[in-house]
Symmetry: C2
């Protein structure tokens, strides 16, 4: 088992079906990296929380965590709430190396994929 | 000018920078389809509203609107709020043909792009 864990962090919603795409990404990542822990965590409405997911990863031997906020863009959730939360988690798990990836919308290749998908959908 | 308009519908946020990725997608689409109106609209916090964006597109000659909800997944916003809003808009603009695309997370190619992006970011 790798000492790296990938934690996908999503907003959460009241509707259980909302989590489906995030579950698909988790499965694809897990298939590509069978030796890495790949976990989902949610900010609101759904569980586990980010704190719980990190604690579980650490308990299973993770030393390096790549935290992937699956949010479209950088707003209050990613600029204020998440750094505060990660700060608390770092205090609690000082042995962990935690790296936070940017928002989905900060990745030019994903913006391009969305643009191409809209173009295909709009070509009538 | 085409009689088709593309309206990108995003959640909106208090932080003005949040809209940047959506603006990038709009610019890419507009560059790919110079004859099509490509507009942004927001559910909350930001303007224009969807109603205002549709009215503007119609005033500029659009007859067919492709409405693209730039939301990660289907939850209450897309399953309940948006259909209600589109219902009202259709009553007000009965001459418009409005087609609503699925959520971003419903597109397998975008989930794959996100997975690949995470794999690149996590490869340390």
């Amino acid at each position: 088992m790798s000492d790296q864990a990938i934690i996908l962090f999503a907003h959460g919603a009241r509707d259980a079906e909302w989590a489906a795409p995030f579950g698909s990404i988790q499965k694809q990542l897990q298939a590509a990296r069978p030796d890495t822990q790949v976990a989902l965590a949610f900010q609101d409405f759904m569980t586990p929380t980010l704190e719980a997911a990190v604690a579980q990863s650490a308990a299973q031997g993770a030393r390096r965590i790549v935290l992937v906020p699956l949010f479209m863009a950088q707003g209050g959730h990613l600029k204020q709430d998440l750094p505060r939360l990660v700060g608390k988690i770092r205090e609690r798990h000082p042995q962990l190396e935690i790296r936070v990836m940017p928002a989905i919308g900060d990745a030019p290749e994903i913006l391009r994929a969305i643009t191409d998908w809209v173009l295909r959908g709009a070509s009538v």
